[in-house]
């Protein structure tokens, strides 16, 4: 399978990139390309222009801003995050999540920005043009039906990135660059939970940096991922937990889930369930229930929806116990 024809643009600065984004209508950003390139081959995108942002040196690397927190450039690779002592020490949940993504080779290419902006996935969508032709085009691409929820009008393609639930637990913020400069947005407010319009990013905007607040540095973190293979596989369900303890009691806690909804979601009611208490089996089980209730898996992915929801419950319980007691 070959790539469709497009013009490749290679800006050297953020400003230049934003300018190009504004200038061209039919355009796709490529960072590591591990998500976009296979999709181009499958003709899920046939852009006139592709902007390769990898030459923008300012978007690489991890930097501490004293008194504020840590800043990670959108082009920082998942391998860099996995091997960063700083991240391992201060934001262990992010490190855990990053090292479960795909395989070592893909992590060498894949960027944090690309992981956050990852296209939503569906078994009926991530297929070749020939395949989709024989099946019938769906809402997400070229058609107006949904194979997952027949008769429905909403797209349920599932968000399957591993690091965003970890970033949500850490109260991460994004820096978004656009024609009018940059703006900040809480990651929590970035996703739409719509499979076919996954993020709140204007056409001429891009994600430039990620901020992790100093406040959540040192939170204990655990990431648990359901997959059939120990490597390569996207999550079929994923749970991130980050919490702060003092004197055996939980001071603050966050749980977020991925791969079971069109967006990574923060599980509501966790603070209420946990803060001020010490973590027990019962509390962990209760959080597991909350997480399972947030999960709305459908037949977008391998394994049955019911099993995947069940695993959100089990994994959330286990992750809370581990983060809360070890």
């Amino acid at each position: 399978m070959s790539l469709p024809d497009f013009k490749l643009l290679r800006p050297r600065s953020l400003a230049e990139a934003v300018e190009l984004l504004g200038k061209h209508v039919d355009v796709q950003i490529v960072a590591g390309g591990t998500d976009l390139i296979p999709s181009l081959k499958q003709r899920l995108f046939i852009p006139a222009y592709v902007i390769d942002i990898r030459r923008i040196a300012e978007l690489r690397g991890i930097r501490v801003i004293p008194g504020q927190g840590t800043e990670i450039g959108a082009l920082t690779t998942l391998t860099e995050i996995e091997h960063s002592d700083l991240i391992r020490r201060d934001y262990p949940v992010l490190q855990e999540a990053a090292k479960t993504v795909a395989s070592p080779i893909l992590r060498n290419m894949g960027t944090l920005g690309g992981n956050i902006c990852l296209d939503t996935r569906c078994l009926w969508y991530n297929q070749s043009l020939t395949w989709r032709t024989s099946c019938g085009f769906c809402i997400k691409k070229d058609g107006d039906l949904c194979h997952v929820a027949p008769g429905g009008t909403k797209c349920w393609a599932v968000f399957s990135g591993d690091t965003p639930p970890a970033l949500l637990c850490l109260d991460a913020e994004l820096e978004i660059a656009g024609p009018a400069g940059t703006r900040r947005l809480a990651l929590r407010d970035f996703y739409t939970n719509l499979g076919d319009a996954r993020m709140k990013l204007a056409r001429n905007e891009m994600v430039s940096r990620v901020f992790l607040p100093e406040r959540t540095a040192g939170y204990r973190g655990v990431y648990r991922k359901l997959r059939l293979r120990g490597s390569i596989d996207y999550p079929l369900a994923g749970v991130a937990v980050a919490l702060k303890r003092s004197n055996g009691h939980v001071e603050d806690a966050r749980v977020a889930i991925t791969a079971v909804n069109p967006a990574p979601l923060v599980v509501r009611g966790v603070e209420k369930e946990m803060v001020g208490k010490s973590v027990t089996e019962e509390i962990a089980a209760a959080v597991g229930e909350l997480a399972a209730r947030t999960a709305k898996p459908l037949t977008t992915s391998a394994l049955t929806p019911e099993y995947r929801r069940e695993m959100i419950r089990v994994f959330a319980k286990r992750a809370v116990l581990e983060a809360g007691t070890k």
Binding site: Q127, W131, F137, L145, T299, L303, E306, Y307
Partner: protein, 852 residues
């Protein structure tokens, strides 16, 4: 006698360097001047009539040289003489999503792909069949007109007296097992390059040369000749390096014929390389198999009877189907001593890609059912699972009730070894909750005693030529596909001739140069091509010996060939130089041109020894040329019975294996972790122990994939996971340590006693894991793969838990019940949505009939 210098040694593959450095050439690495790229248009329908194909717009596209369709080569072919039901491209009907409709040959891939979109095809959709048990009821809209009820073939065998056997049993178990469909997933996608010679004046087409990733170059040559209506002598097939086959390249795959048809139309070389998705459509993997298995046993563990009904979902074409179904019955025999057997086999056509031969052809799924049920019986009569297997061993040499001749039989030792190494006796039953050990046994043929096209001709022939400097060239038709065929050939030749391995050069699998060998399938190469090599080498050796004996004043029988020397038996070791290098220089320098006259002058008295080169020169002097040939045909007494279907199953020899798996099961998630597998395999003699171990480990890992993860999932004939991301072959992470244990039963007829080692181990892995899961958590899984959701559903069912895991949630209640009866599947299998009005692939109307 096990005093060999090359046999039995751990030797690196002779073709390893090219593969590891990247210098080696696979088919897709090849290019020719003026070469075009071929791309195939595939059917979007599972079953439809082609009403019209209009390729004019595609042909008009700049860069497109030719477009071919079914009419360009309508002759039928198929790997089996009874199954000639394929054409290069669909002639008037497509039978599965992915069936081949047209092929574009263009200057590059992009142009060819664009041209595909310009081909207009008008289809008339037909009712389609996706489930074998429904398909068998079909009365009309048959997949092939000459196959009533969509039944490719059914067989009904009875040996002994099963009724009596079951009547005598104290314990009978009967249940249904299902093994879902899997595919080979070889690393190298299929690729073919076809080129005709052109007459420079008239432009007329001459001889055809085809380079292809194949396990069977000679069958390819034969089928090309059928379809293209050219004599075989005008066709040359060359097999470059092949990146794995596992059966997926053991017959003629559509692209191989299509490339030649396109090259003929374009009058230019055409190369086609499948995308991974196309590899899945070409398929020929292991069929989904439904097995109703029944075993009866006495209280003491002796088996009294077996009955099996096996239904295979064969896909849209015959392929190897008739053989696959027959193996599923035949190989109930030749492993245990069972006197009463009933077997009913059904090979059914459905509108899906054709299934064919895959590692452990025909036996793997049935072995899973049998070995699982054997454990159920053992549990019921409170016998150790290893013990019940021991009680039912054969007493070879013997002939089984279904006429299989068993000679060498290392199964008892295999069982003993894995029991011992795994700590079976000490550990089993004493492991912590959730952890368990399980055992499984299996066997396989060392080549089929009857070739596909039945004849008395040899199955393998090998020629050897020795040059004046002692270089040995072995010409063999055997196909190296990564399994070590070339290395095995070189080892046998070098051992017989007593020369170094470095002297031996292998020329293999080129129909113009090498004598015929029927191919790399059914684990036949070591046994058959190995024997042919042995015979060819012995023939040349005899010529060298007679000449050398004259020089040494002795009889040829007194000579020993070893370590690049020829010496008199019993000559004192000290008189024979240990290093060859010291004598080669000077003594025989220049002899190639001057002949041996000069050399003779140098020699004063007859000696006790000669170098290999000297002996070769003496022989060429004496005989004029030094060539030898050897061939192998299985002995008549190994060819089996004469009942209908008796041709499949017989082999000159069988390999045996026993395995113990150590697993743990997470009872909250259903996840199964395999910690270790001890795998003992009786390969007769390990010609190259590293290669044998590699094959055992690879087989176990492949079996593990089928046991835990791999499954082709269908939705209305559409493959939901046509790629290596969603079709999950195990990654290194969940491939545990395998302890390969080589058992050597020294087969009386194998080359140096060797027999099969690369397929037989696979079948034991799946039941060993199933039985270990039972030992760990007390659930009996009857459907592979044992995905976590199936395991969890069974655990919940075991506990009659309040919180049942209903894996069929969301499944359309009108969907056929068989989708529900076995507790779920990897994916939703209910009905899909109606296709949208504007959808290009929308079916004309809701069709009557079919089973969708």
């Amino acid at each position: 006698m096990s005093d060999f210098s090359i046999i039995g040694k751990r030797i690196a593959m002779v073709d390893a360097a090219g593969k590891t450095t990247g210098a080696g050439k696979y088919t897709d690495d090849l290019t020719l001047p003026g070469m075009l790229i071929g791309k195939i248009l595939h059917s979007p329908y599972p079953h439809a009539r082609i009403k019209r194909i209009d390729a004019s717009r595609a042909l008009a596209l700049e860069g497109v040289v030719a477009v071919v369709t079914g009419q360009d080569a309508p002759n039928k072919y198929g790997i089996l003489p009874v199954g000639h039901d394929e054409t290069a491209l669909a002639v008037d009907r497509v039978r599965y999503v992915g069936d081949n409709v047209a092929c574009v040959a263009a200057v590059d891939e992009t142009t060819a792909e664009k041209a595909l979109e310009l081909i207009e095809v008008e289809y008339e959709p037909l009712p389609a069949y996706f489930d074998p048990e429904e398909s068998m009821k079909a009365e009309r809209d048959l997949i092939h007109e000459n196959r009533p009820h969509n039944l490719e073939k059914d067989y009904h065998h009875v040996f002994g007296d099963p009724e009596k056997g079951f009547a005598e049993a104290d314990c009978i178990r009967e249940s249904r097992y299902i093994a879902n469909e899997v595919t080979h997933a070889a690393m190298e996608p299929h690729s073919t390059l076809a080129a005709f010679e052109l007459d420079p004046y008239s432009g007329a087409l001459g001889r055809l040369t085809v380079w292809s990733s194949t396990q069977v170059p000679y069958y390819l040559q034969h089928k090309l000749s059928l379809v293209l209506e050219m004599p075989m002598s005008q066709i040359r097939v060359i097999k470059p390096l092949v990146g794995g086959g596992f059966g997926g390249k053991s017959e003629v795959i559509p692209l191989e014929i299509i490339a030649a048809v396109a090259a003929r139309a374009a009058k230019a070389p055409v190369k086609i390389t499948y995308t991974r998705e196309e590899v899945f459509w070409a398929h020929r993997g292991r069929p989904r198999t439904i097995m109703d298995m029944k075993i009866g046993a006495k209280r003491d563990g002796r088996l009294t009877a077996v009955a099996a009904r096996v239904v295979q979902d064969g896909g849209a074409y015959c392929s190897y189907g008739v053989v696959t179904i027959l193996y599923s019955g035949a190989l109930l025999g030749a492993i245990y001593d069972i006197l009463n057997v009933r077997w009913d086999g059904y090979r059914v056509l459905t509108n899906k890609p054709a299934c064919g031969a895959m590692r452990g052809h025909g036996t793997v799924n049935v072995r899973f059912a049998f070995e699982s049920q054997l454990d159920e019986i053992a549990a019921e009569i409170a016998l150790d699972p290893a013990e019940i297997r021991r009680i039912n061993l054969l007493q070879p040499p013997c002939i089984t009730v279904n006429n299989l001749r068993v000679t060498s039989y290392g199964l008892p030792e295999c069982i003993e070894k894995v029991v011992e190494r795994s700590g079976w006796r000490e550990r089993r039953g004493k492991l912590p909750r959730g952890r368990g050990l399980g055992i499984g046994c299996s066997h396989y043929v060392s080549g089929a005693a009857n070739s596909i096209i039945r004849s008395d001709m040899p199955h393998s022939t090998v020629n050897i030529k020795i040059d004046r400097d002692g270089g040995v060239v072995v010409y063999t038709g055997a196909s190296e596909i990564g399994q070590g065929s070339d290395t095995m050939t070189a080892q046998i030749a070098a051992e017989v001739l007593g020369c170094t391995l470095q002297r031996v050069k292998i020329v293999a699998a080129d129909t113009d140069l090498t004598p015929i060998d029927i191919g790399s399938y059914s684990s036949r190469v070591t046994f058959m091509a190995g024997n042919a090599t042995l015979r060819a080498a012995e023939e040349v050796k005899k010529q060298i010996a007679s000449a050398a004996a004259r020089k040494m004043n002795c009889v040829p029988e007194d000579l020993v060939f070893r370590d690049d020397l020829v010496f008199k038996r019993g000559s004192s070791v000290s008189s024979v130089p240990s290093g060859v290098d010291s004598v080669v220089a000077g003594r025989v320098e220049g002899q190639i041109l001057r002949g041996s006259l000069q050399q003779k002058r140098k020699e004063e008295v007859p000696k006790d020894w000669m170098t290999f080169e000297e002996a070769v020169v003496a022989a060429i002097d004496f005989h004029g040329a030094l060539t030898g040939t050897g061939s192998y045909a299985p002995p008549p007494e190994s060819r089996g019975g004469s009942f209908k279907g008796a041709g499949v199953g017989p082999s000159p020899s069988y390999s045996y294996s026993a395995q113990v798996a150590d697993v743990s099961v997470d009872e909250e998630t259903g996840e199964v972790t395999v910690h270790k597998v001890w795998a003992a395999h009786d390969c007769g003699r390990a010609l190259n122990p590293v290669a044998v171990e590699g094959q055992i480990i690879g087989s176990v890992w492949m079996g593990l994939g089928q046991a835990l993860e791999e499954e082709m999932v269908w939705k209305d004939g559409l493959l939901m996971n046509p790629g290596l991301l969603e079709y999950r072959s195990p990654s290194a992470v969940e491939s545990p340590e395998i302890e390969p244990i080589i058992v050597e039963s020294i087969d009386p007829e194998g080359p140096f006693g060797a027999k099969e080692c690369s397929e037989g181990s696979l079948a034991a892995t799946i039941p060993a894991i199933a039985n270990a899961i039972y030992d760990a958590v007390g659930i009996r899984l009857r459907e592979v793969p044992f995905t976590p959701e199936r395991v969890l559903a069974a655990i919940r069912a075991r506990d009659a838990a309040a919180k049942k895991l209903d894996l069929t949630e969301g499944v359309d209640p009108t969907a056929p019940t068989r989708f529900r009866e076995h507790g779920g599947a990897l994916w939703f299998r209910g009905k899909g949505p109606k296709r949208h009005e504007l959808d290009p692939a929308r079916r004309a109307e809701q069709l009557a009939g079919g089973d969708d």
